[in-house]
Symmetry: D2
Subunit: 340 residues, 4 copies
């Protein structure tokens, strides 16, 4: 059975498994105070061209979003997101659990539109009774978005300018950031994010690690962020496991190399679909592909491959998601063509 | 350098590392819906002699305590704990973050006294204004306690009887449960816990796993506990990693075997200290040992071994903690004697 | 200056002021355990034809919504509301502060559409990953709505049937309930609400009281709701002040009499506007009127009367809100005509 | 029946009732934006000799404590209080509901000892693992304390100095502040509080108002504190009712005059008890008196007067609390002597 179901269905890339095996019974201090973590942080700071950045390792995406946003927001503030944003839809209300409302803007294939953001903020603060409403304190973006689309550097610069006008913070969810960095045409790199964001995270779970996300605060970390992590149940006792994994991913460009393979395979997969006459919708450049397939055909295909139902398209067709991950076999992509 | 610092300073037992390596690029469904998790749950139900139990895998101890207690308590209820209880002292207020007060009872070497519990509850509900106070909804115990001491079956039965009188729930933190199960003289086993508790967890992180805690609800899981985990950032995307680890630990008695080794070494370590004329205080039977050492001697010893300062004892002496874990080398224990 | 600004700009109806003055230095027990409160509760139970109802007095509307919803919902549950619902827009995130997401449905002049509710719930629970989303636990309605519109008995019955299918609770915000009860054509009375709701409140602040809202739980109050109120800062020390006011309002039909006057004046006011050629939009029957007025004319009118800007209508016109309260002078309504 | 039960059993002082009656159907803007509130704030700023202070009116004490502390604390911080502090004992966990732990120090007749505070803070921050614990962000004091005792200016200055050393804030609960201000020997006045505190409140509910507490931020109010109040359900729609009351209390020294009467009567009451051979314990100077009475005698006395059981004293005696409020009749105090 071929699998294009998602990018979190395998243990980890072989480099990480290899290194974990090699460690043996070596003893490391707990809670991320070890030398692997220190080395990984240093490599991430270098990759971000931001020597003053604070870096922390958390375990998973929802946990990271809720913990970082809670630390960035004042208690009465909400966070703006596209209505399709992961925090608004698929995190069981983790952000609201910490007391913060998610304020929504229309989604354009997963993206927030800078002019709509600007106009929403102007209208909000023009409203005489705005203090009876939830005052926005930050904007949440994801790169790539939940629809595999990308923000350009010009867009995020414009968004930053708008946010600065109103004193809001910018947080970017990078659960699949590597795939964005490796996408053809991408012009928004780690050093850009370090300049433009108040916080962002570099996803590990979906890009070769067993688990783990690296949060970067380019300017200043929230006060006692270590305690904030602990308070949110987000501090791993064996923090060195996360350090060791990110140290591996950020050695010799492995992080981008792995993502690059997945993105190239995803591109090949869309090419195959197009050759066979299928529509791609929306168009993406990262590791997720959205394909319009007739319902009957999809059922037939499901006997040979795993993929996810994404939503309805027409009476007889649906959109389905096909994901390539860091260990997707090129042969599997070619083999899929046989069943189309 | 010898290390008796703690039981979470190594990756995992070699059986788990081996199995992780063997899995290769096998694809598994996410969020704990995989067959490893199913198999592990089944083995845990059998070990608990509780075929109807619900079992969930979370990542770490603080996260588990906060998530499970939040699910067990009504919103206005507090949780009772010994004043030395981990949730009261060393979790950065994770329980309070969810809105619940920790109500404290005196600690007797880490344990709650059943008569004191009974008298506290009687006085509380006799108080005419008790509804202006925080109404207790559950009791938190740890087995072994933070001081390495153990509750007997008779004690927990008596505690259960008292709690039933007032309608409170019982939750046991088993971060080091295996060490309790393997301790000489212990008479409180998994099937007993399944009869006596509303929820408890079987710790993995400190007993051979990379990370992971198995929560057992012997009777009924809280409604939509899957969503509650997600909401608390406690749902691992690659849940099969936790399943695979617990499946390994609960195959052929590995969990108790590993703990048994650590407990035996700890016992040998106390014997060595005693032979050299040191006092053990408090006396323990599990994998943690508390030794009174002169301050100067301790500094000298610290050049050869890692161990933790626990608290003051006299003008010239402190108490120090020495921990044996699942990969502690017996030779290291004997070697320590040379430096005493 | 005439005032149609809102219905919370005056102290209280003269019956309440009179009774407050007459009380003198009489001593009453605190926290709502007094005889005024008991009498008021009994009168409310009778008005609801629900002898088993539990009644509690809180201070204000936002406080009541947040406290009652927090008590009705399980911790991971959200509450559904029209996107214009007061809890979603004008309460500074008080519901989210307690950890609950507000899930929104389209607003039809302030109302939720039963078929849309039904279809939303069916789609939600059909979604295979619904446990990754926020599971709805209750529906919030307001009667009258924020737009002065009313639900019919048939509509709320249908809503109740839909909610029962999925196990959701029904809560109705009655900040202006009296005006609904007194509206011509209304067929949803207190005994109906007691049959159909899990909880609702009878607003005092906007209907003749200094402050105070009476929450009714027709079936069963949430456990220790007294403590829940205290925990939310919603328990008034001098609870007898609330009891005395509701006792007054529910004696000799004063509550409906006062509301009836305001509704009749509001109806007269709309008649005057229509006679002068203004459009009413949306049409309402309760104490709030929404009138389309040219921007210049509105500025002119503002020199003689207070009223609130509600929203844009066309290039040259806006919608403005005119409210009649329990002490609005009939002469003022007639006088307004002179300026139109 | 004489009543010394508490100081919140009456409506309000006659000056306030008179003014409420006189207002008639006058229309005022909502949410505290009215001229009564502005006037009251100005008078309070003057009484505090602090022209730059921000003043807000909330409804009750528990609500005020939870709202202000939530606004002062960072999310991971706890608040230190005496173990007898109202927030720790009698607020149903309102502070914990907002996510903050109450950290306790021993109580000395309700007071925190400056040397114990200093030593606790030094030990806390010396602890190498303090980031795993709840980091204190503020100190809560009450003046007078729950036991009627008073802090001196020298003590609060010393406390301020200690807090500054560690960067903590100081908040004083003044539910009965007027009684402290009017007590013989008191040397801590409003201008002192404005210099020494980050926030404090001037209680109205227990000192002549129907309800209402005036929060003073001498330096800077927390950002958007208006929204924070709304979010906590603490913003009264008819805010002018609170403004009007505090405007009355702060005109011609009424606040201190009323409190002074109560304090003088309380002093007379203790004199009477002493003359009759009763012990006063603890000694107080404010409006609460604690008297040791034989259990049988107390039962007999309860036929003639209301007072509160406070706690056990000996086998045959208890401590009882007798409170004088702003409308206590001097004749009642003298009459009590007849029954002793």
């Amino acid at each position: 059975m071929l699998s294009f179901l998602n990018d979190y269905s395998e243990t980890a890339c072989r480099e990480i498994i290899g290194r974990l095996s090699a460690v043996g019974t070596e003893k490391n201090p707990g809670y991320g105070t070890d030398s692997y973590s220190e080395s990984a942080k240093q490599k991430i700071r270098e990759a971000c061209a931001c020597p003053g950045a604070s870096v922390y390792f958390l375990v998973g995406g929802t946990q990271t979003n809720a913990t970082v946003l809670d630390a960035l927001l004042l208690k009465h503030e909400g966070v703006i997101a596209a209505e399709t944003g992961h925090i608004n839809v698929h995190e069981s209300g983790a952000v609201e659990l910490t007391g913060h409302k998610v304020l929504t803007l229309p989604s354009h294939e997963g993206k927030v539109s800078p002019p709509e953001l600007s106009s929403w903020l102007r209208n909000f603060f023009d409203e005489p009774t705005f203090e009876h409403m939830v005052i926005p304190g930050a904007l949440y973006l994801s790169q790539p978005t939940e629809y595999g689309t990308l923000y350009t550097k010009a867009e995020v610069r414009e968004i930053r300018r708008i946010l600065d006008e109103y004193g809001l913070k910018l947080y970017i969810d990078g659960a699949r950031l590597g795939y964005a960095l490796a996408s053809p045409g991408n012009d928004l790199f780690l050093p850009d994010l370090a300049v433009l964001c108040d916080a962002f995270y570099i996803g590990g779970t979906k890009q070769g690690a067993l688990c783990g996300e690296a949060v970067v605060f380019p300017k200043e970390a929230p006060k006692h962020f270590f305690s904030v992590m602990k308070q949110h149940g987000a501090l791993l006792a064996k923090g060195f496991l996360l350090g060791l994994q990110f140290d591996t991913l950020f050695t010799d460009g492995l992080y981008e190399k792995l993502a690059g393979q997945a993105v190239a395979l995803s591109s090949r997969l869309r090419e195959i679909f197009r050759e066979k006459g299928y529509r791609i919708e929306p168009e993406t450049v990262s590791n997720q592909s959205f394909v319009v397939i007739g319902k009957e055909k999809a059922e037939e295909l499901a006997e040979h491959a795993r993929f996810e139902y994404w939503g309805p398209y027409s009476e007889t067709e649906n959109v389905y998601r096909f994901v390539c991950g860091v260990t997707t076999d090129p042969a599997d992509v070619e083999k899929l063509a046989e069943f189309l």
